[in-house]
């Protein structure tokens, strides 16, 4: 894909979502300060935050940007990659804020593992939940449930099976499939409110 188009979409969307970014980081920092120090707190909090941020990207929030991007000569997969970067660019700083606050004020230990698993789970959940934004009804709920399940699987692999690399590999694979699926759906999507 043309890098310019990706960066333009990312910049324009992030500028429009700057308050969301600030609130997400502030909320994550507060949660990191008070949350339990185990892996479950950051993984599930940041995943839920990612799912919410992804759902906020639903069509209709910035209709002019939606129409500009739908009307631009980009293929579905190209547009999907650019749009997928936007919630990830919000959820990654929020996760860093959570872990930083938790490490500084709540005595979080094993920071690299916590950070890697949390980032993986949050990004995978966010990308899976993106597909819910262009669906309705049961299909939308199914994608939100799958996003939650991805987070739970990543946590189980890391905390129960003690396989951090397994958790990261699972998150990477789930993220790849999620972006592909989002692109396929976006290519067939008709931006008409029903």
């Amino acid at each position: 894909m043309r890098g310019r188009a990706t960066l333009a979409i990312l910049e324009m969307r992030l500028r429009s979502e700057r308050r969301t970014l600030a609130f997400a980081c502030a909320t994550a920092a507060v949660a990191g300060f008070v949350a339990p120090r185990a892996l479950a707190g950051p993984v599930f909090f940041c995943s839920v935050l990612g799912i919410i941020i992804a759902l906020v990207q639903s069509p209709g929030r910035f209709p002019h940007l939606d129409l500009c991007e739908q009307g631009a000569p980009l293929f579905g997969r190209q547009l999907a990659r650019a749009r997928a970067l936007v919630p990830c660019a919000i959820v990654v700083p929020a996760t860093l804020a959570y872990v930083a606050a938790s490490a500084a004020f709540a005595g979080l230990r094993d920071i690299p593992v916590t950070l890697a698993v949390t980032l993986g789970a949050a990004v995978a959940s966010t990308l899976i939940a993106l597909s819910a934004t262009i669906r309705a009804g049961a299909a939308q709920l199914l994608y939100v449930a799958m996003a939650g399940a991805a987070s739970a699987i990543a946590f189980t692999l890391a905390a129960v099976a003690h396989s951090v690399w397994g958790a990261i590999a699972f998150c990477a694979f789930a993220s790849f499939l999620a972006v592909r699926q989002y692109g396929e759906t976006l290519a067939r999507y008709d931006p008409v409110e029903t």
Partner: protein, 204 residues
Amino acid sequence: MGRLPFEGTLNEGLLSFLLRMREACFAASGLTVGPVTLDVDPGERATRVCSSVREAHVVALMAAGIVKAGSGCVLIDQFDPRVQPAHCKRVAAFVPHDPLPLAAAEFDRYIVYRAALWNVDPPRALAHAKLLMERLDGVHEAFAVPLAGALVCNPKIVVLDRPQPVYAARIVAAAGPRAIFSTHLHSQEAAAFVNAAAAALTPV
């Protein structure tokens, strides 16, 4: 030399239109639009009067290749939006009905954003957009900026969803030799665009 049965029709058809809709229908839950049949030739100003806001919106989106027809045929400069959507979107530029909620300081950013999406050189797009804004003098910025943004991408046809009839002459002048297709809710609004186009063609 003998001709294949479809040869004449195909060759003539390929060269004669920018937008062709044949029995084009769109159906989603609770919404059915069409069938729509029309042709827009290069440089032509065509209008369509629709019975509802939604119909006008969907017909304009179908004409711009943003929404795909469920049945029937839509061709934009020989390309089918169902098969070659990116090619169609290079040819047709869509201008929405709603005003753009944009601060004056954001004009440059918006034009650069659109230029990046259409792979147009940003300084050239900005210079072009400023010229267009001069041509659109008198048109409210909220309506002028999206039109200028659409025109900097150098489309062959401009598709307008329920444009303001009071700005018809300015819009036609800004579009220059490009074809224009617009949807309207009333025949008087469509007539304003047809008359503006006729006035633009009349030698002074």
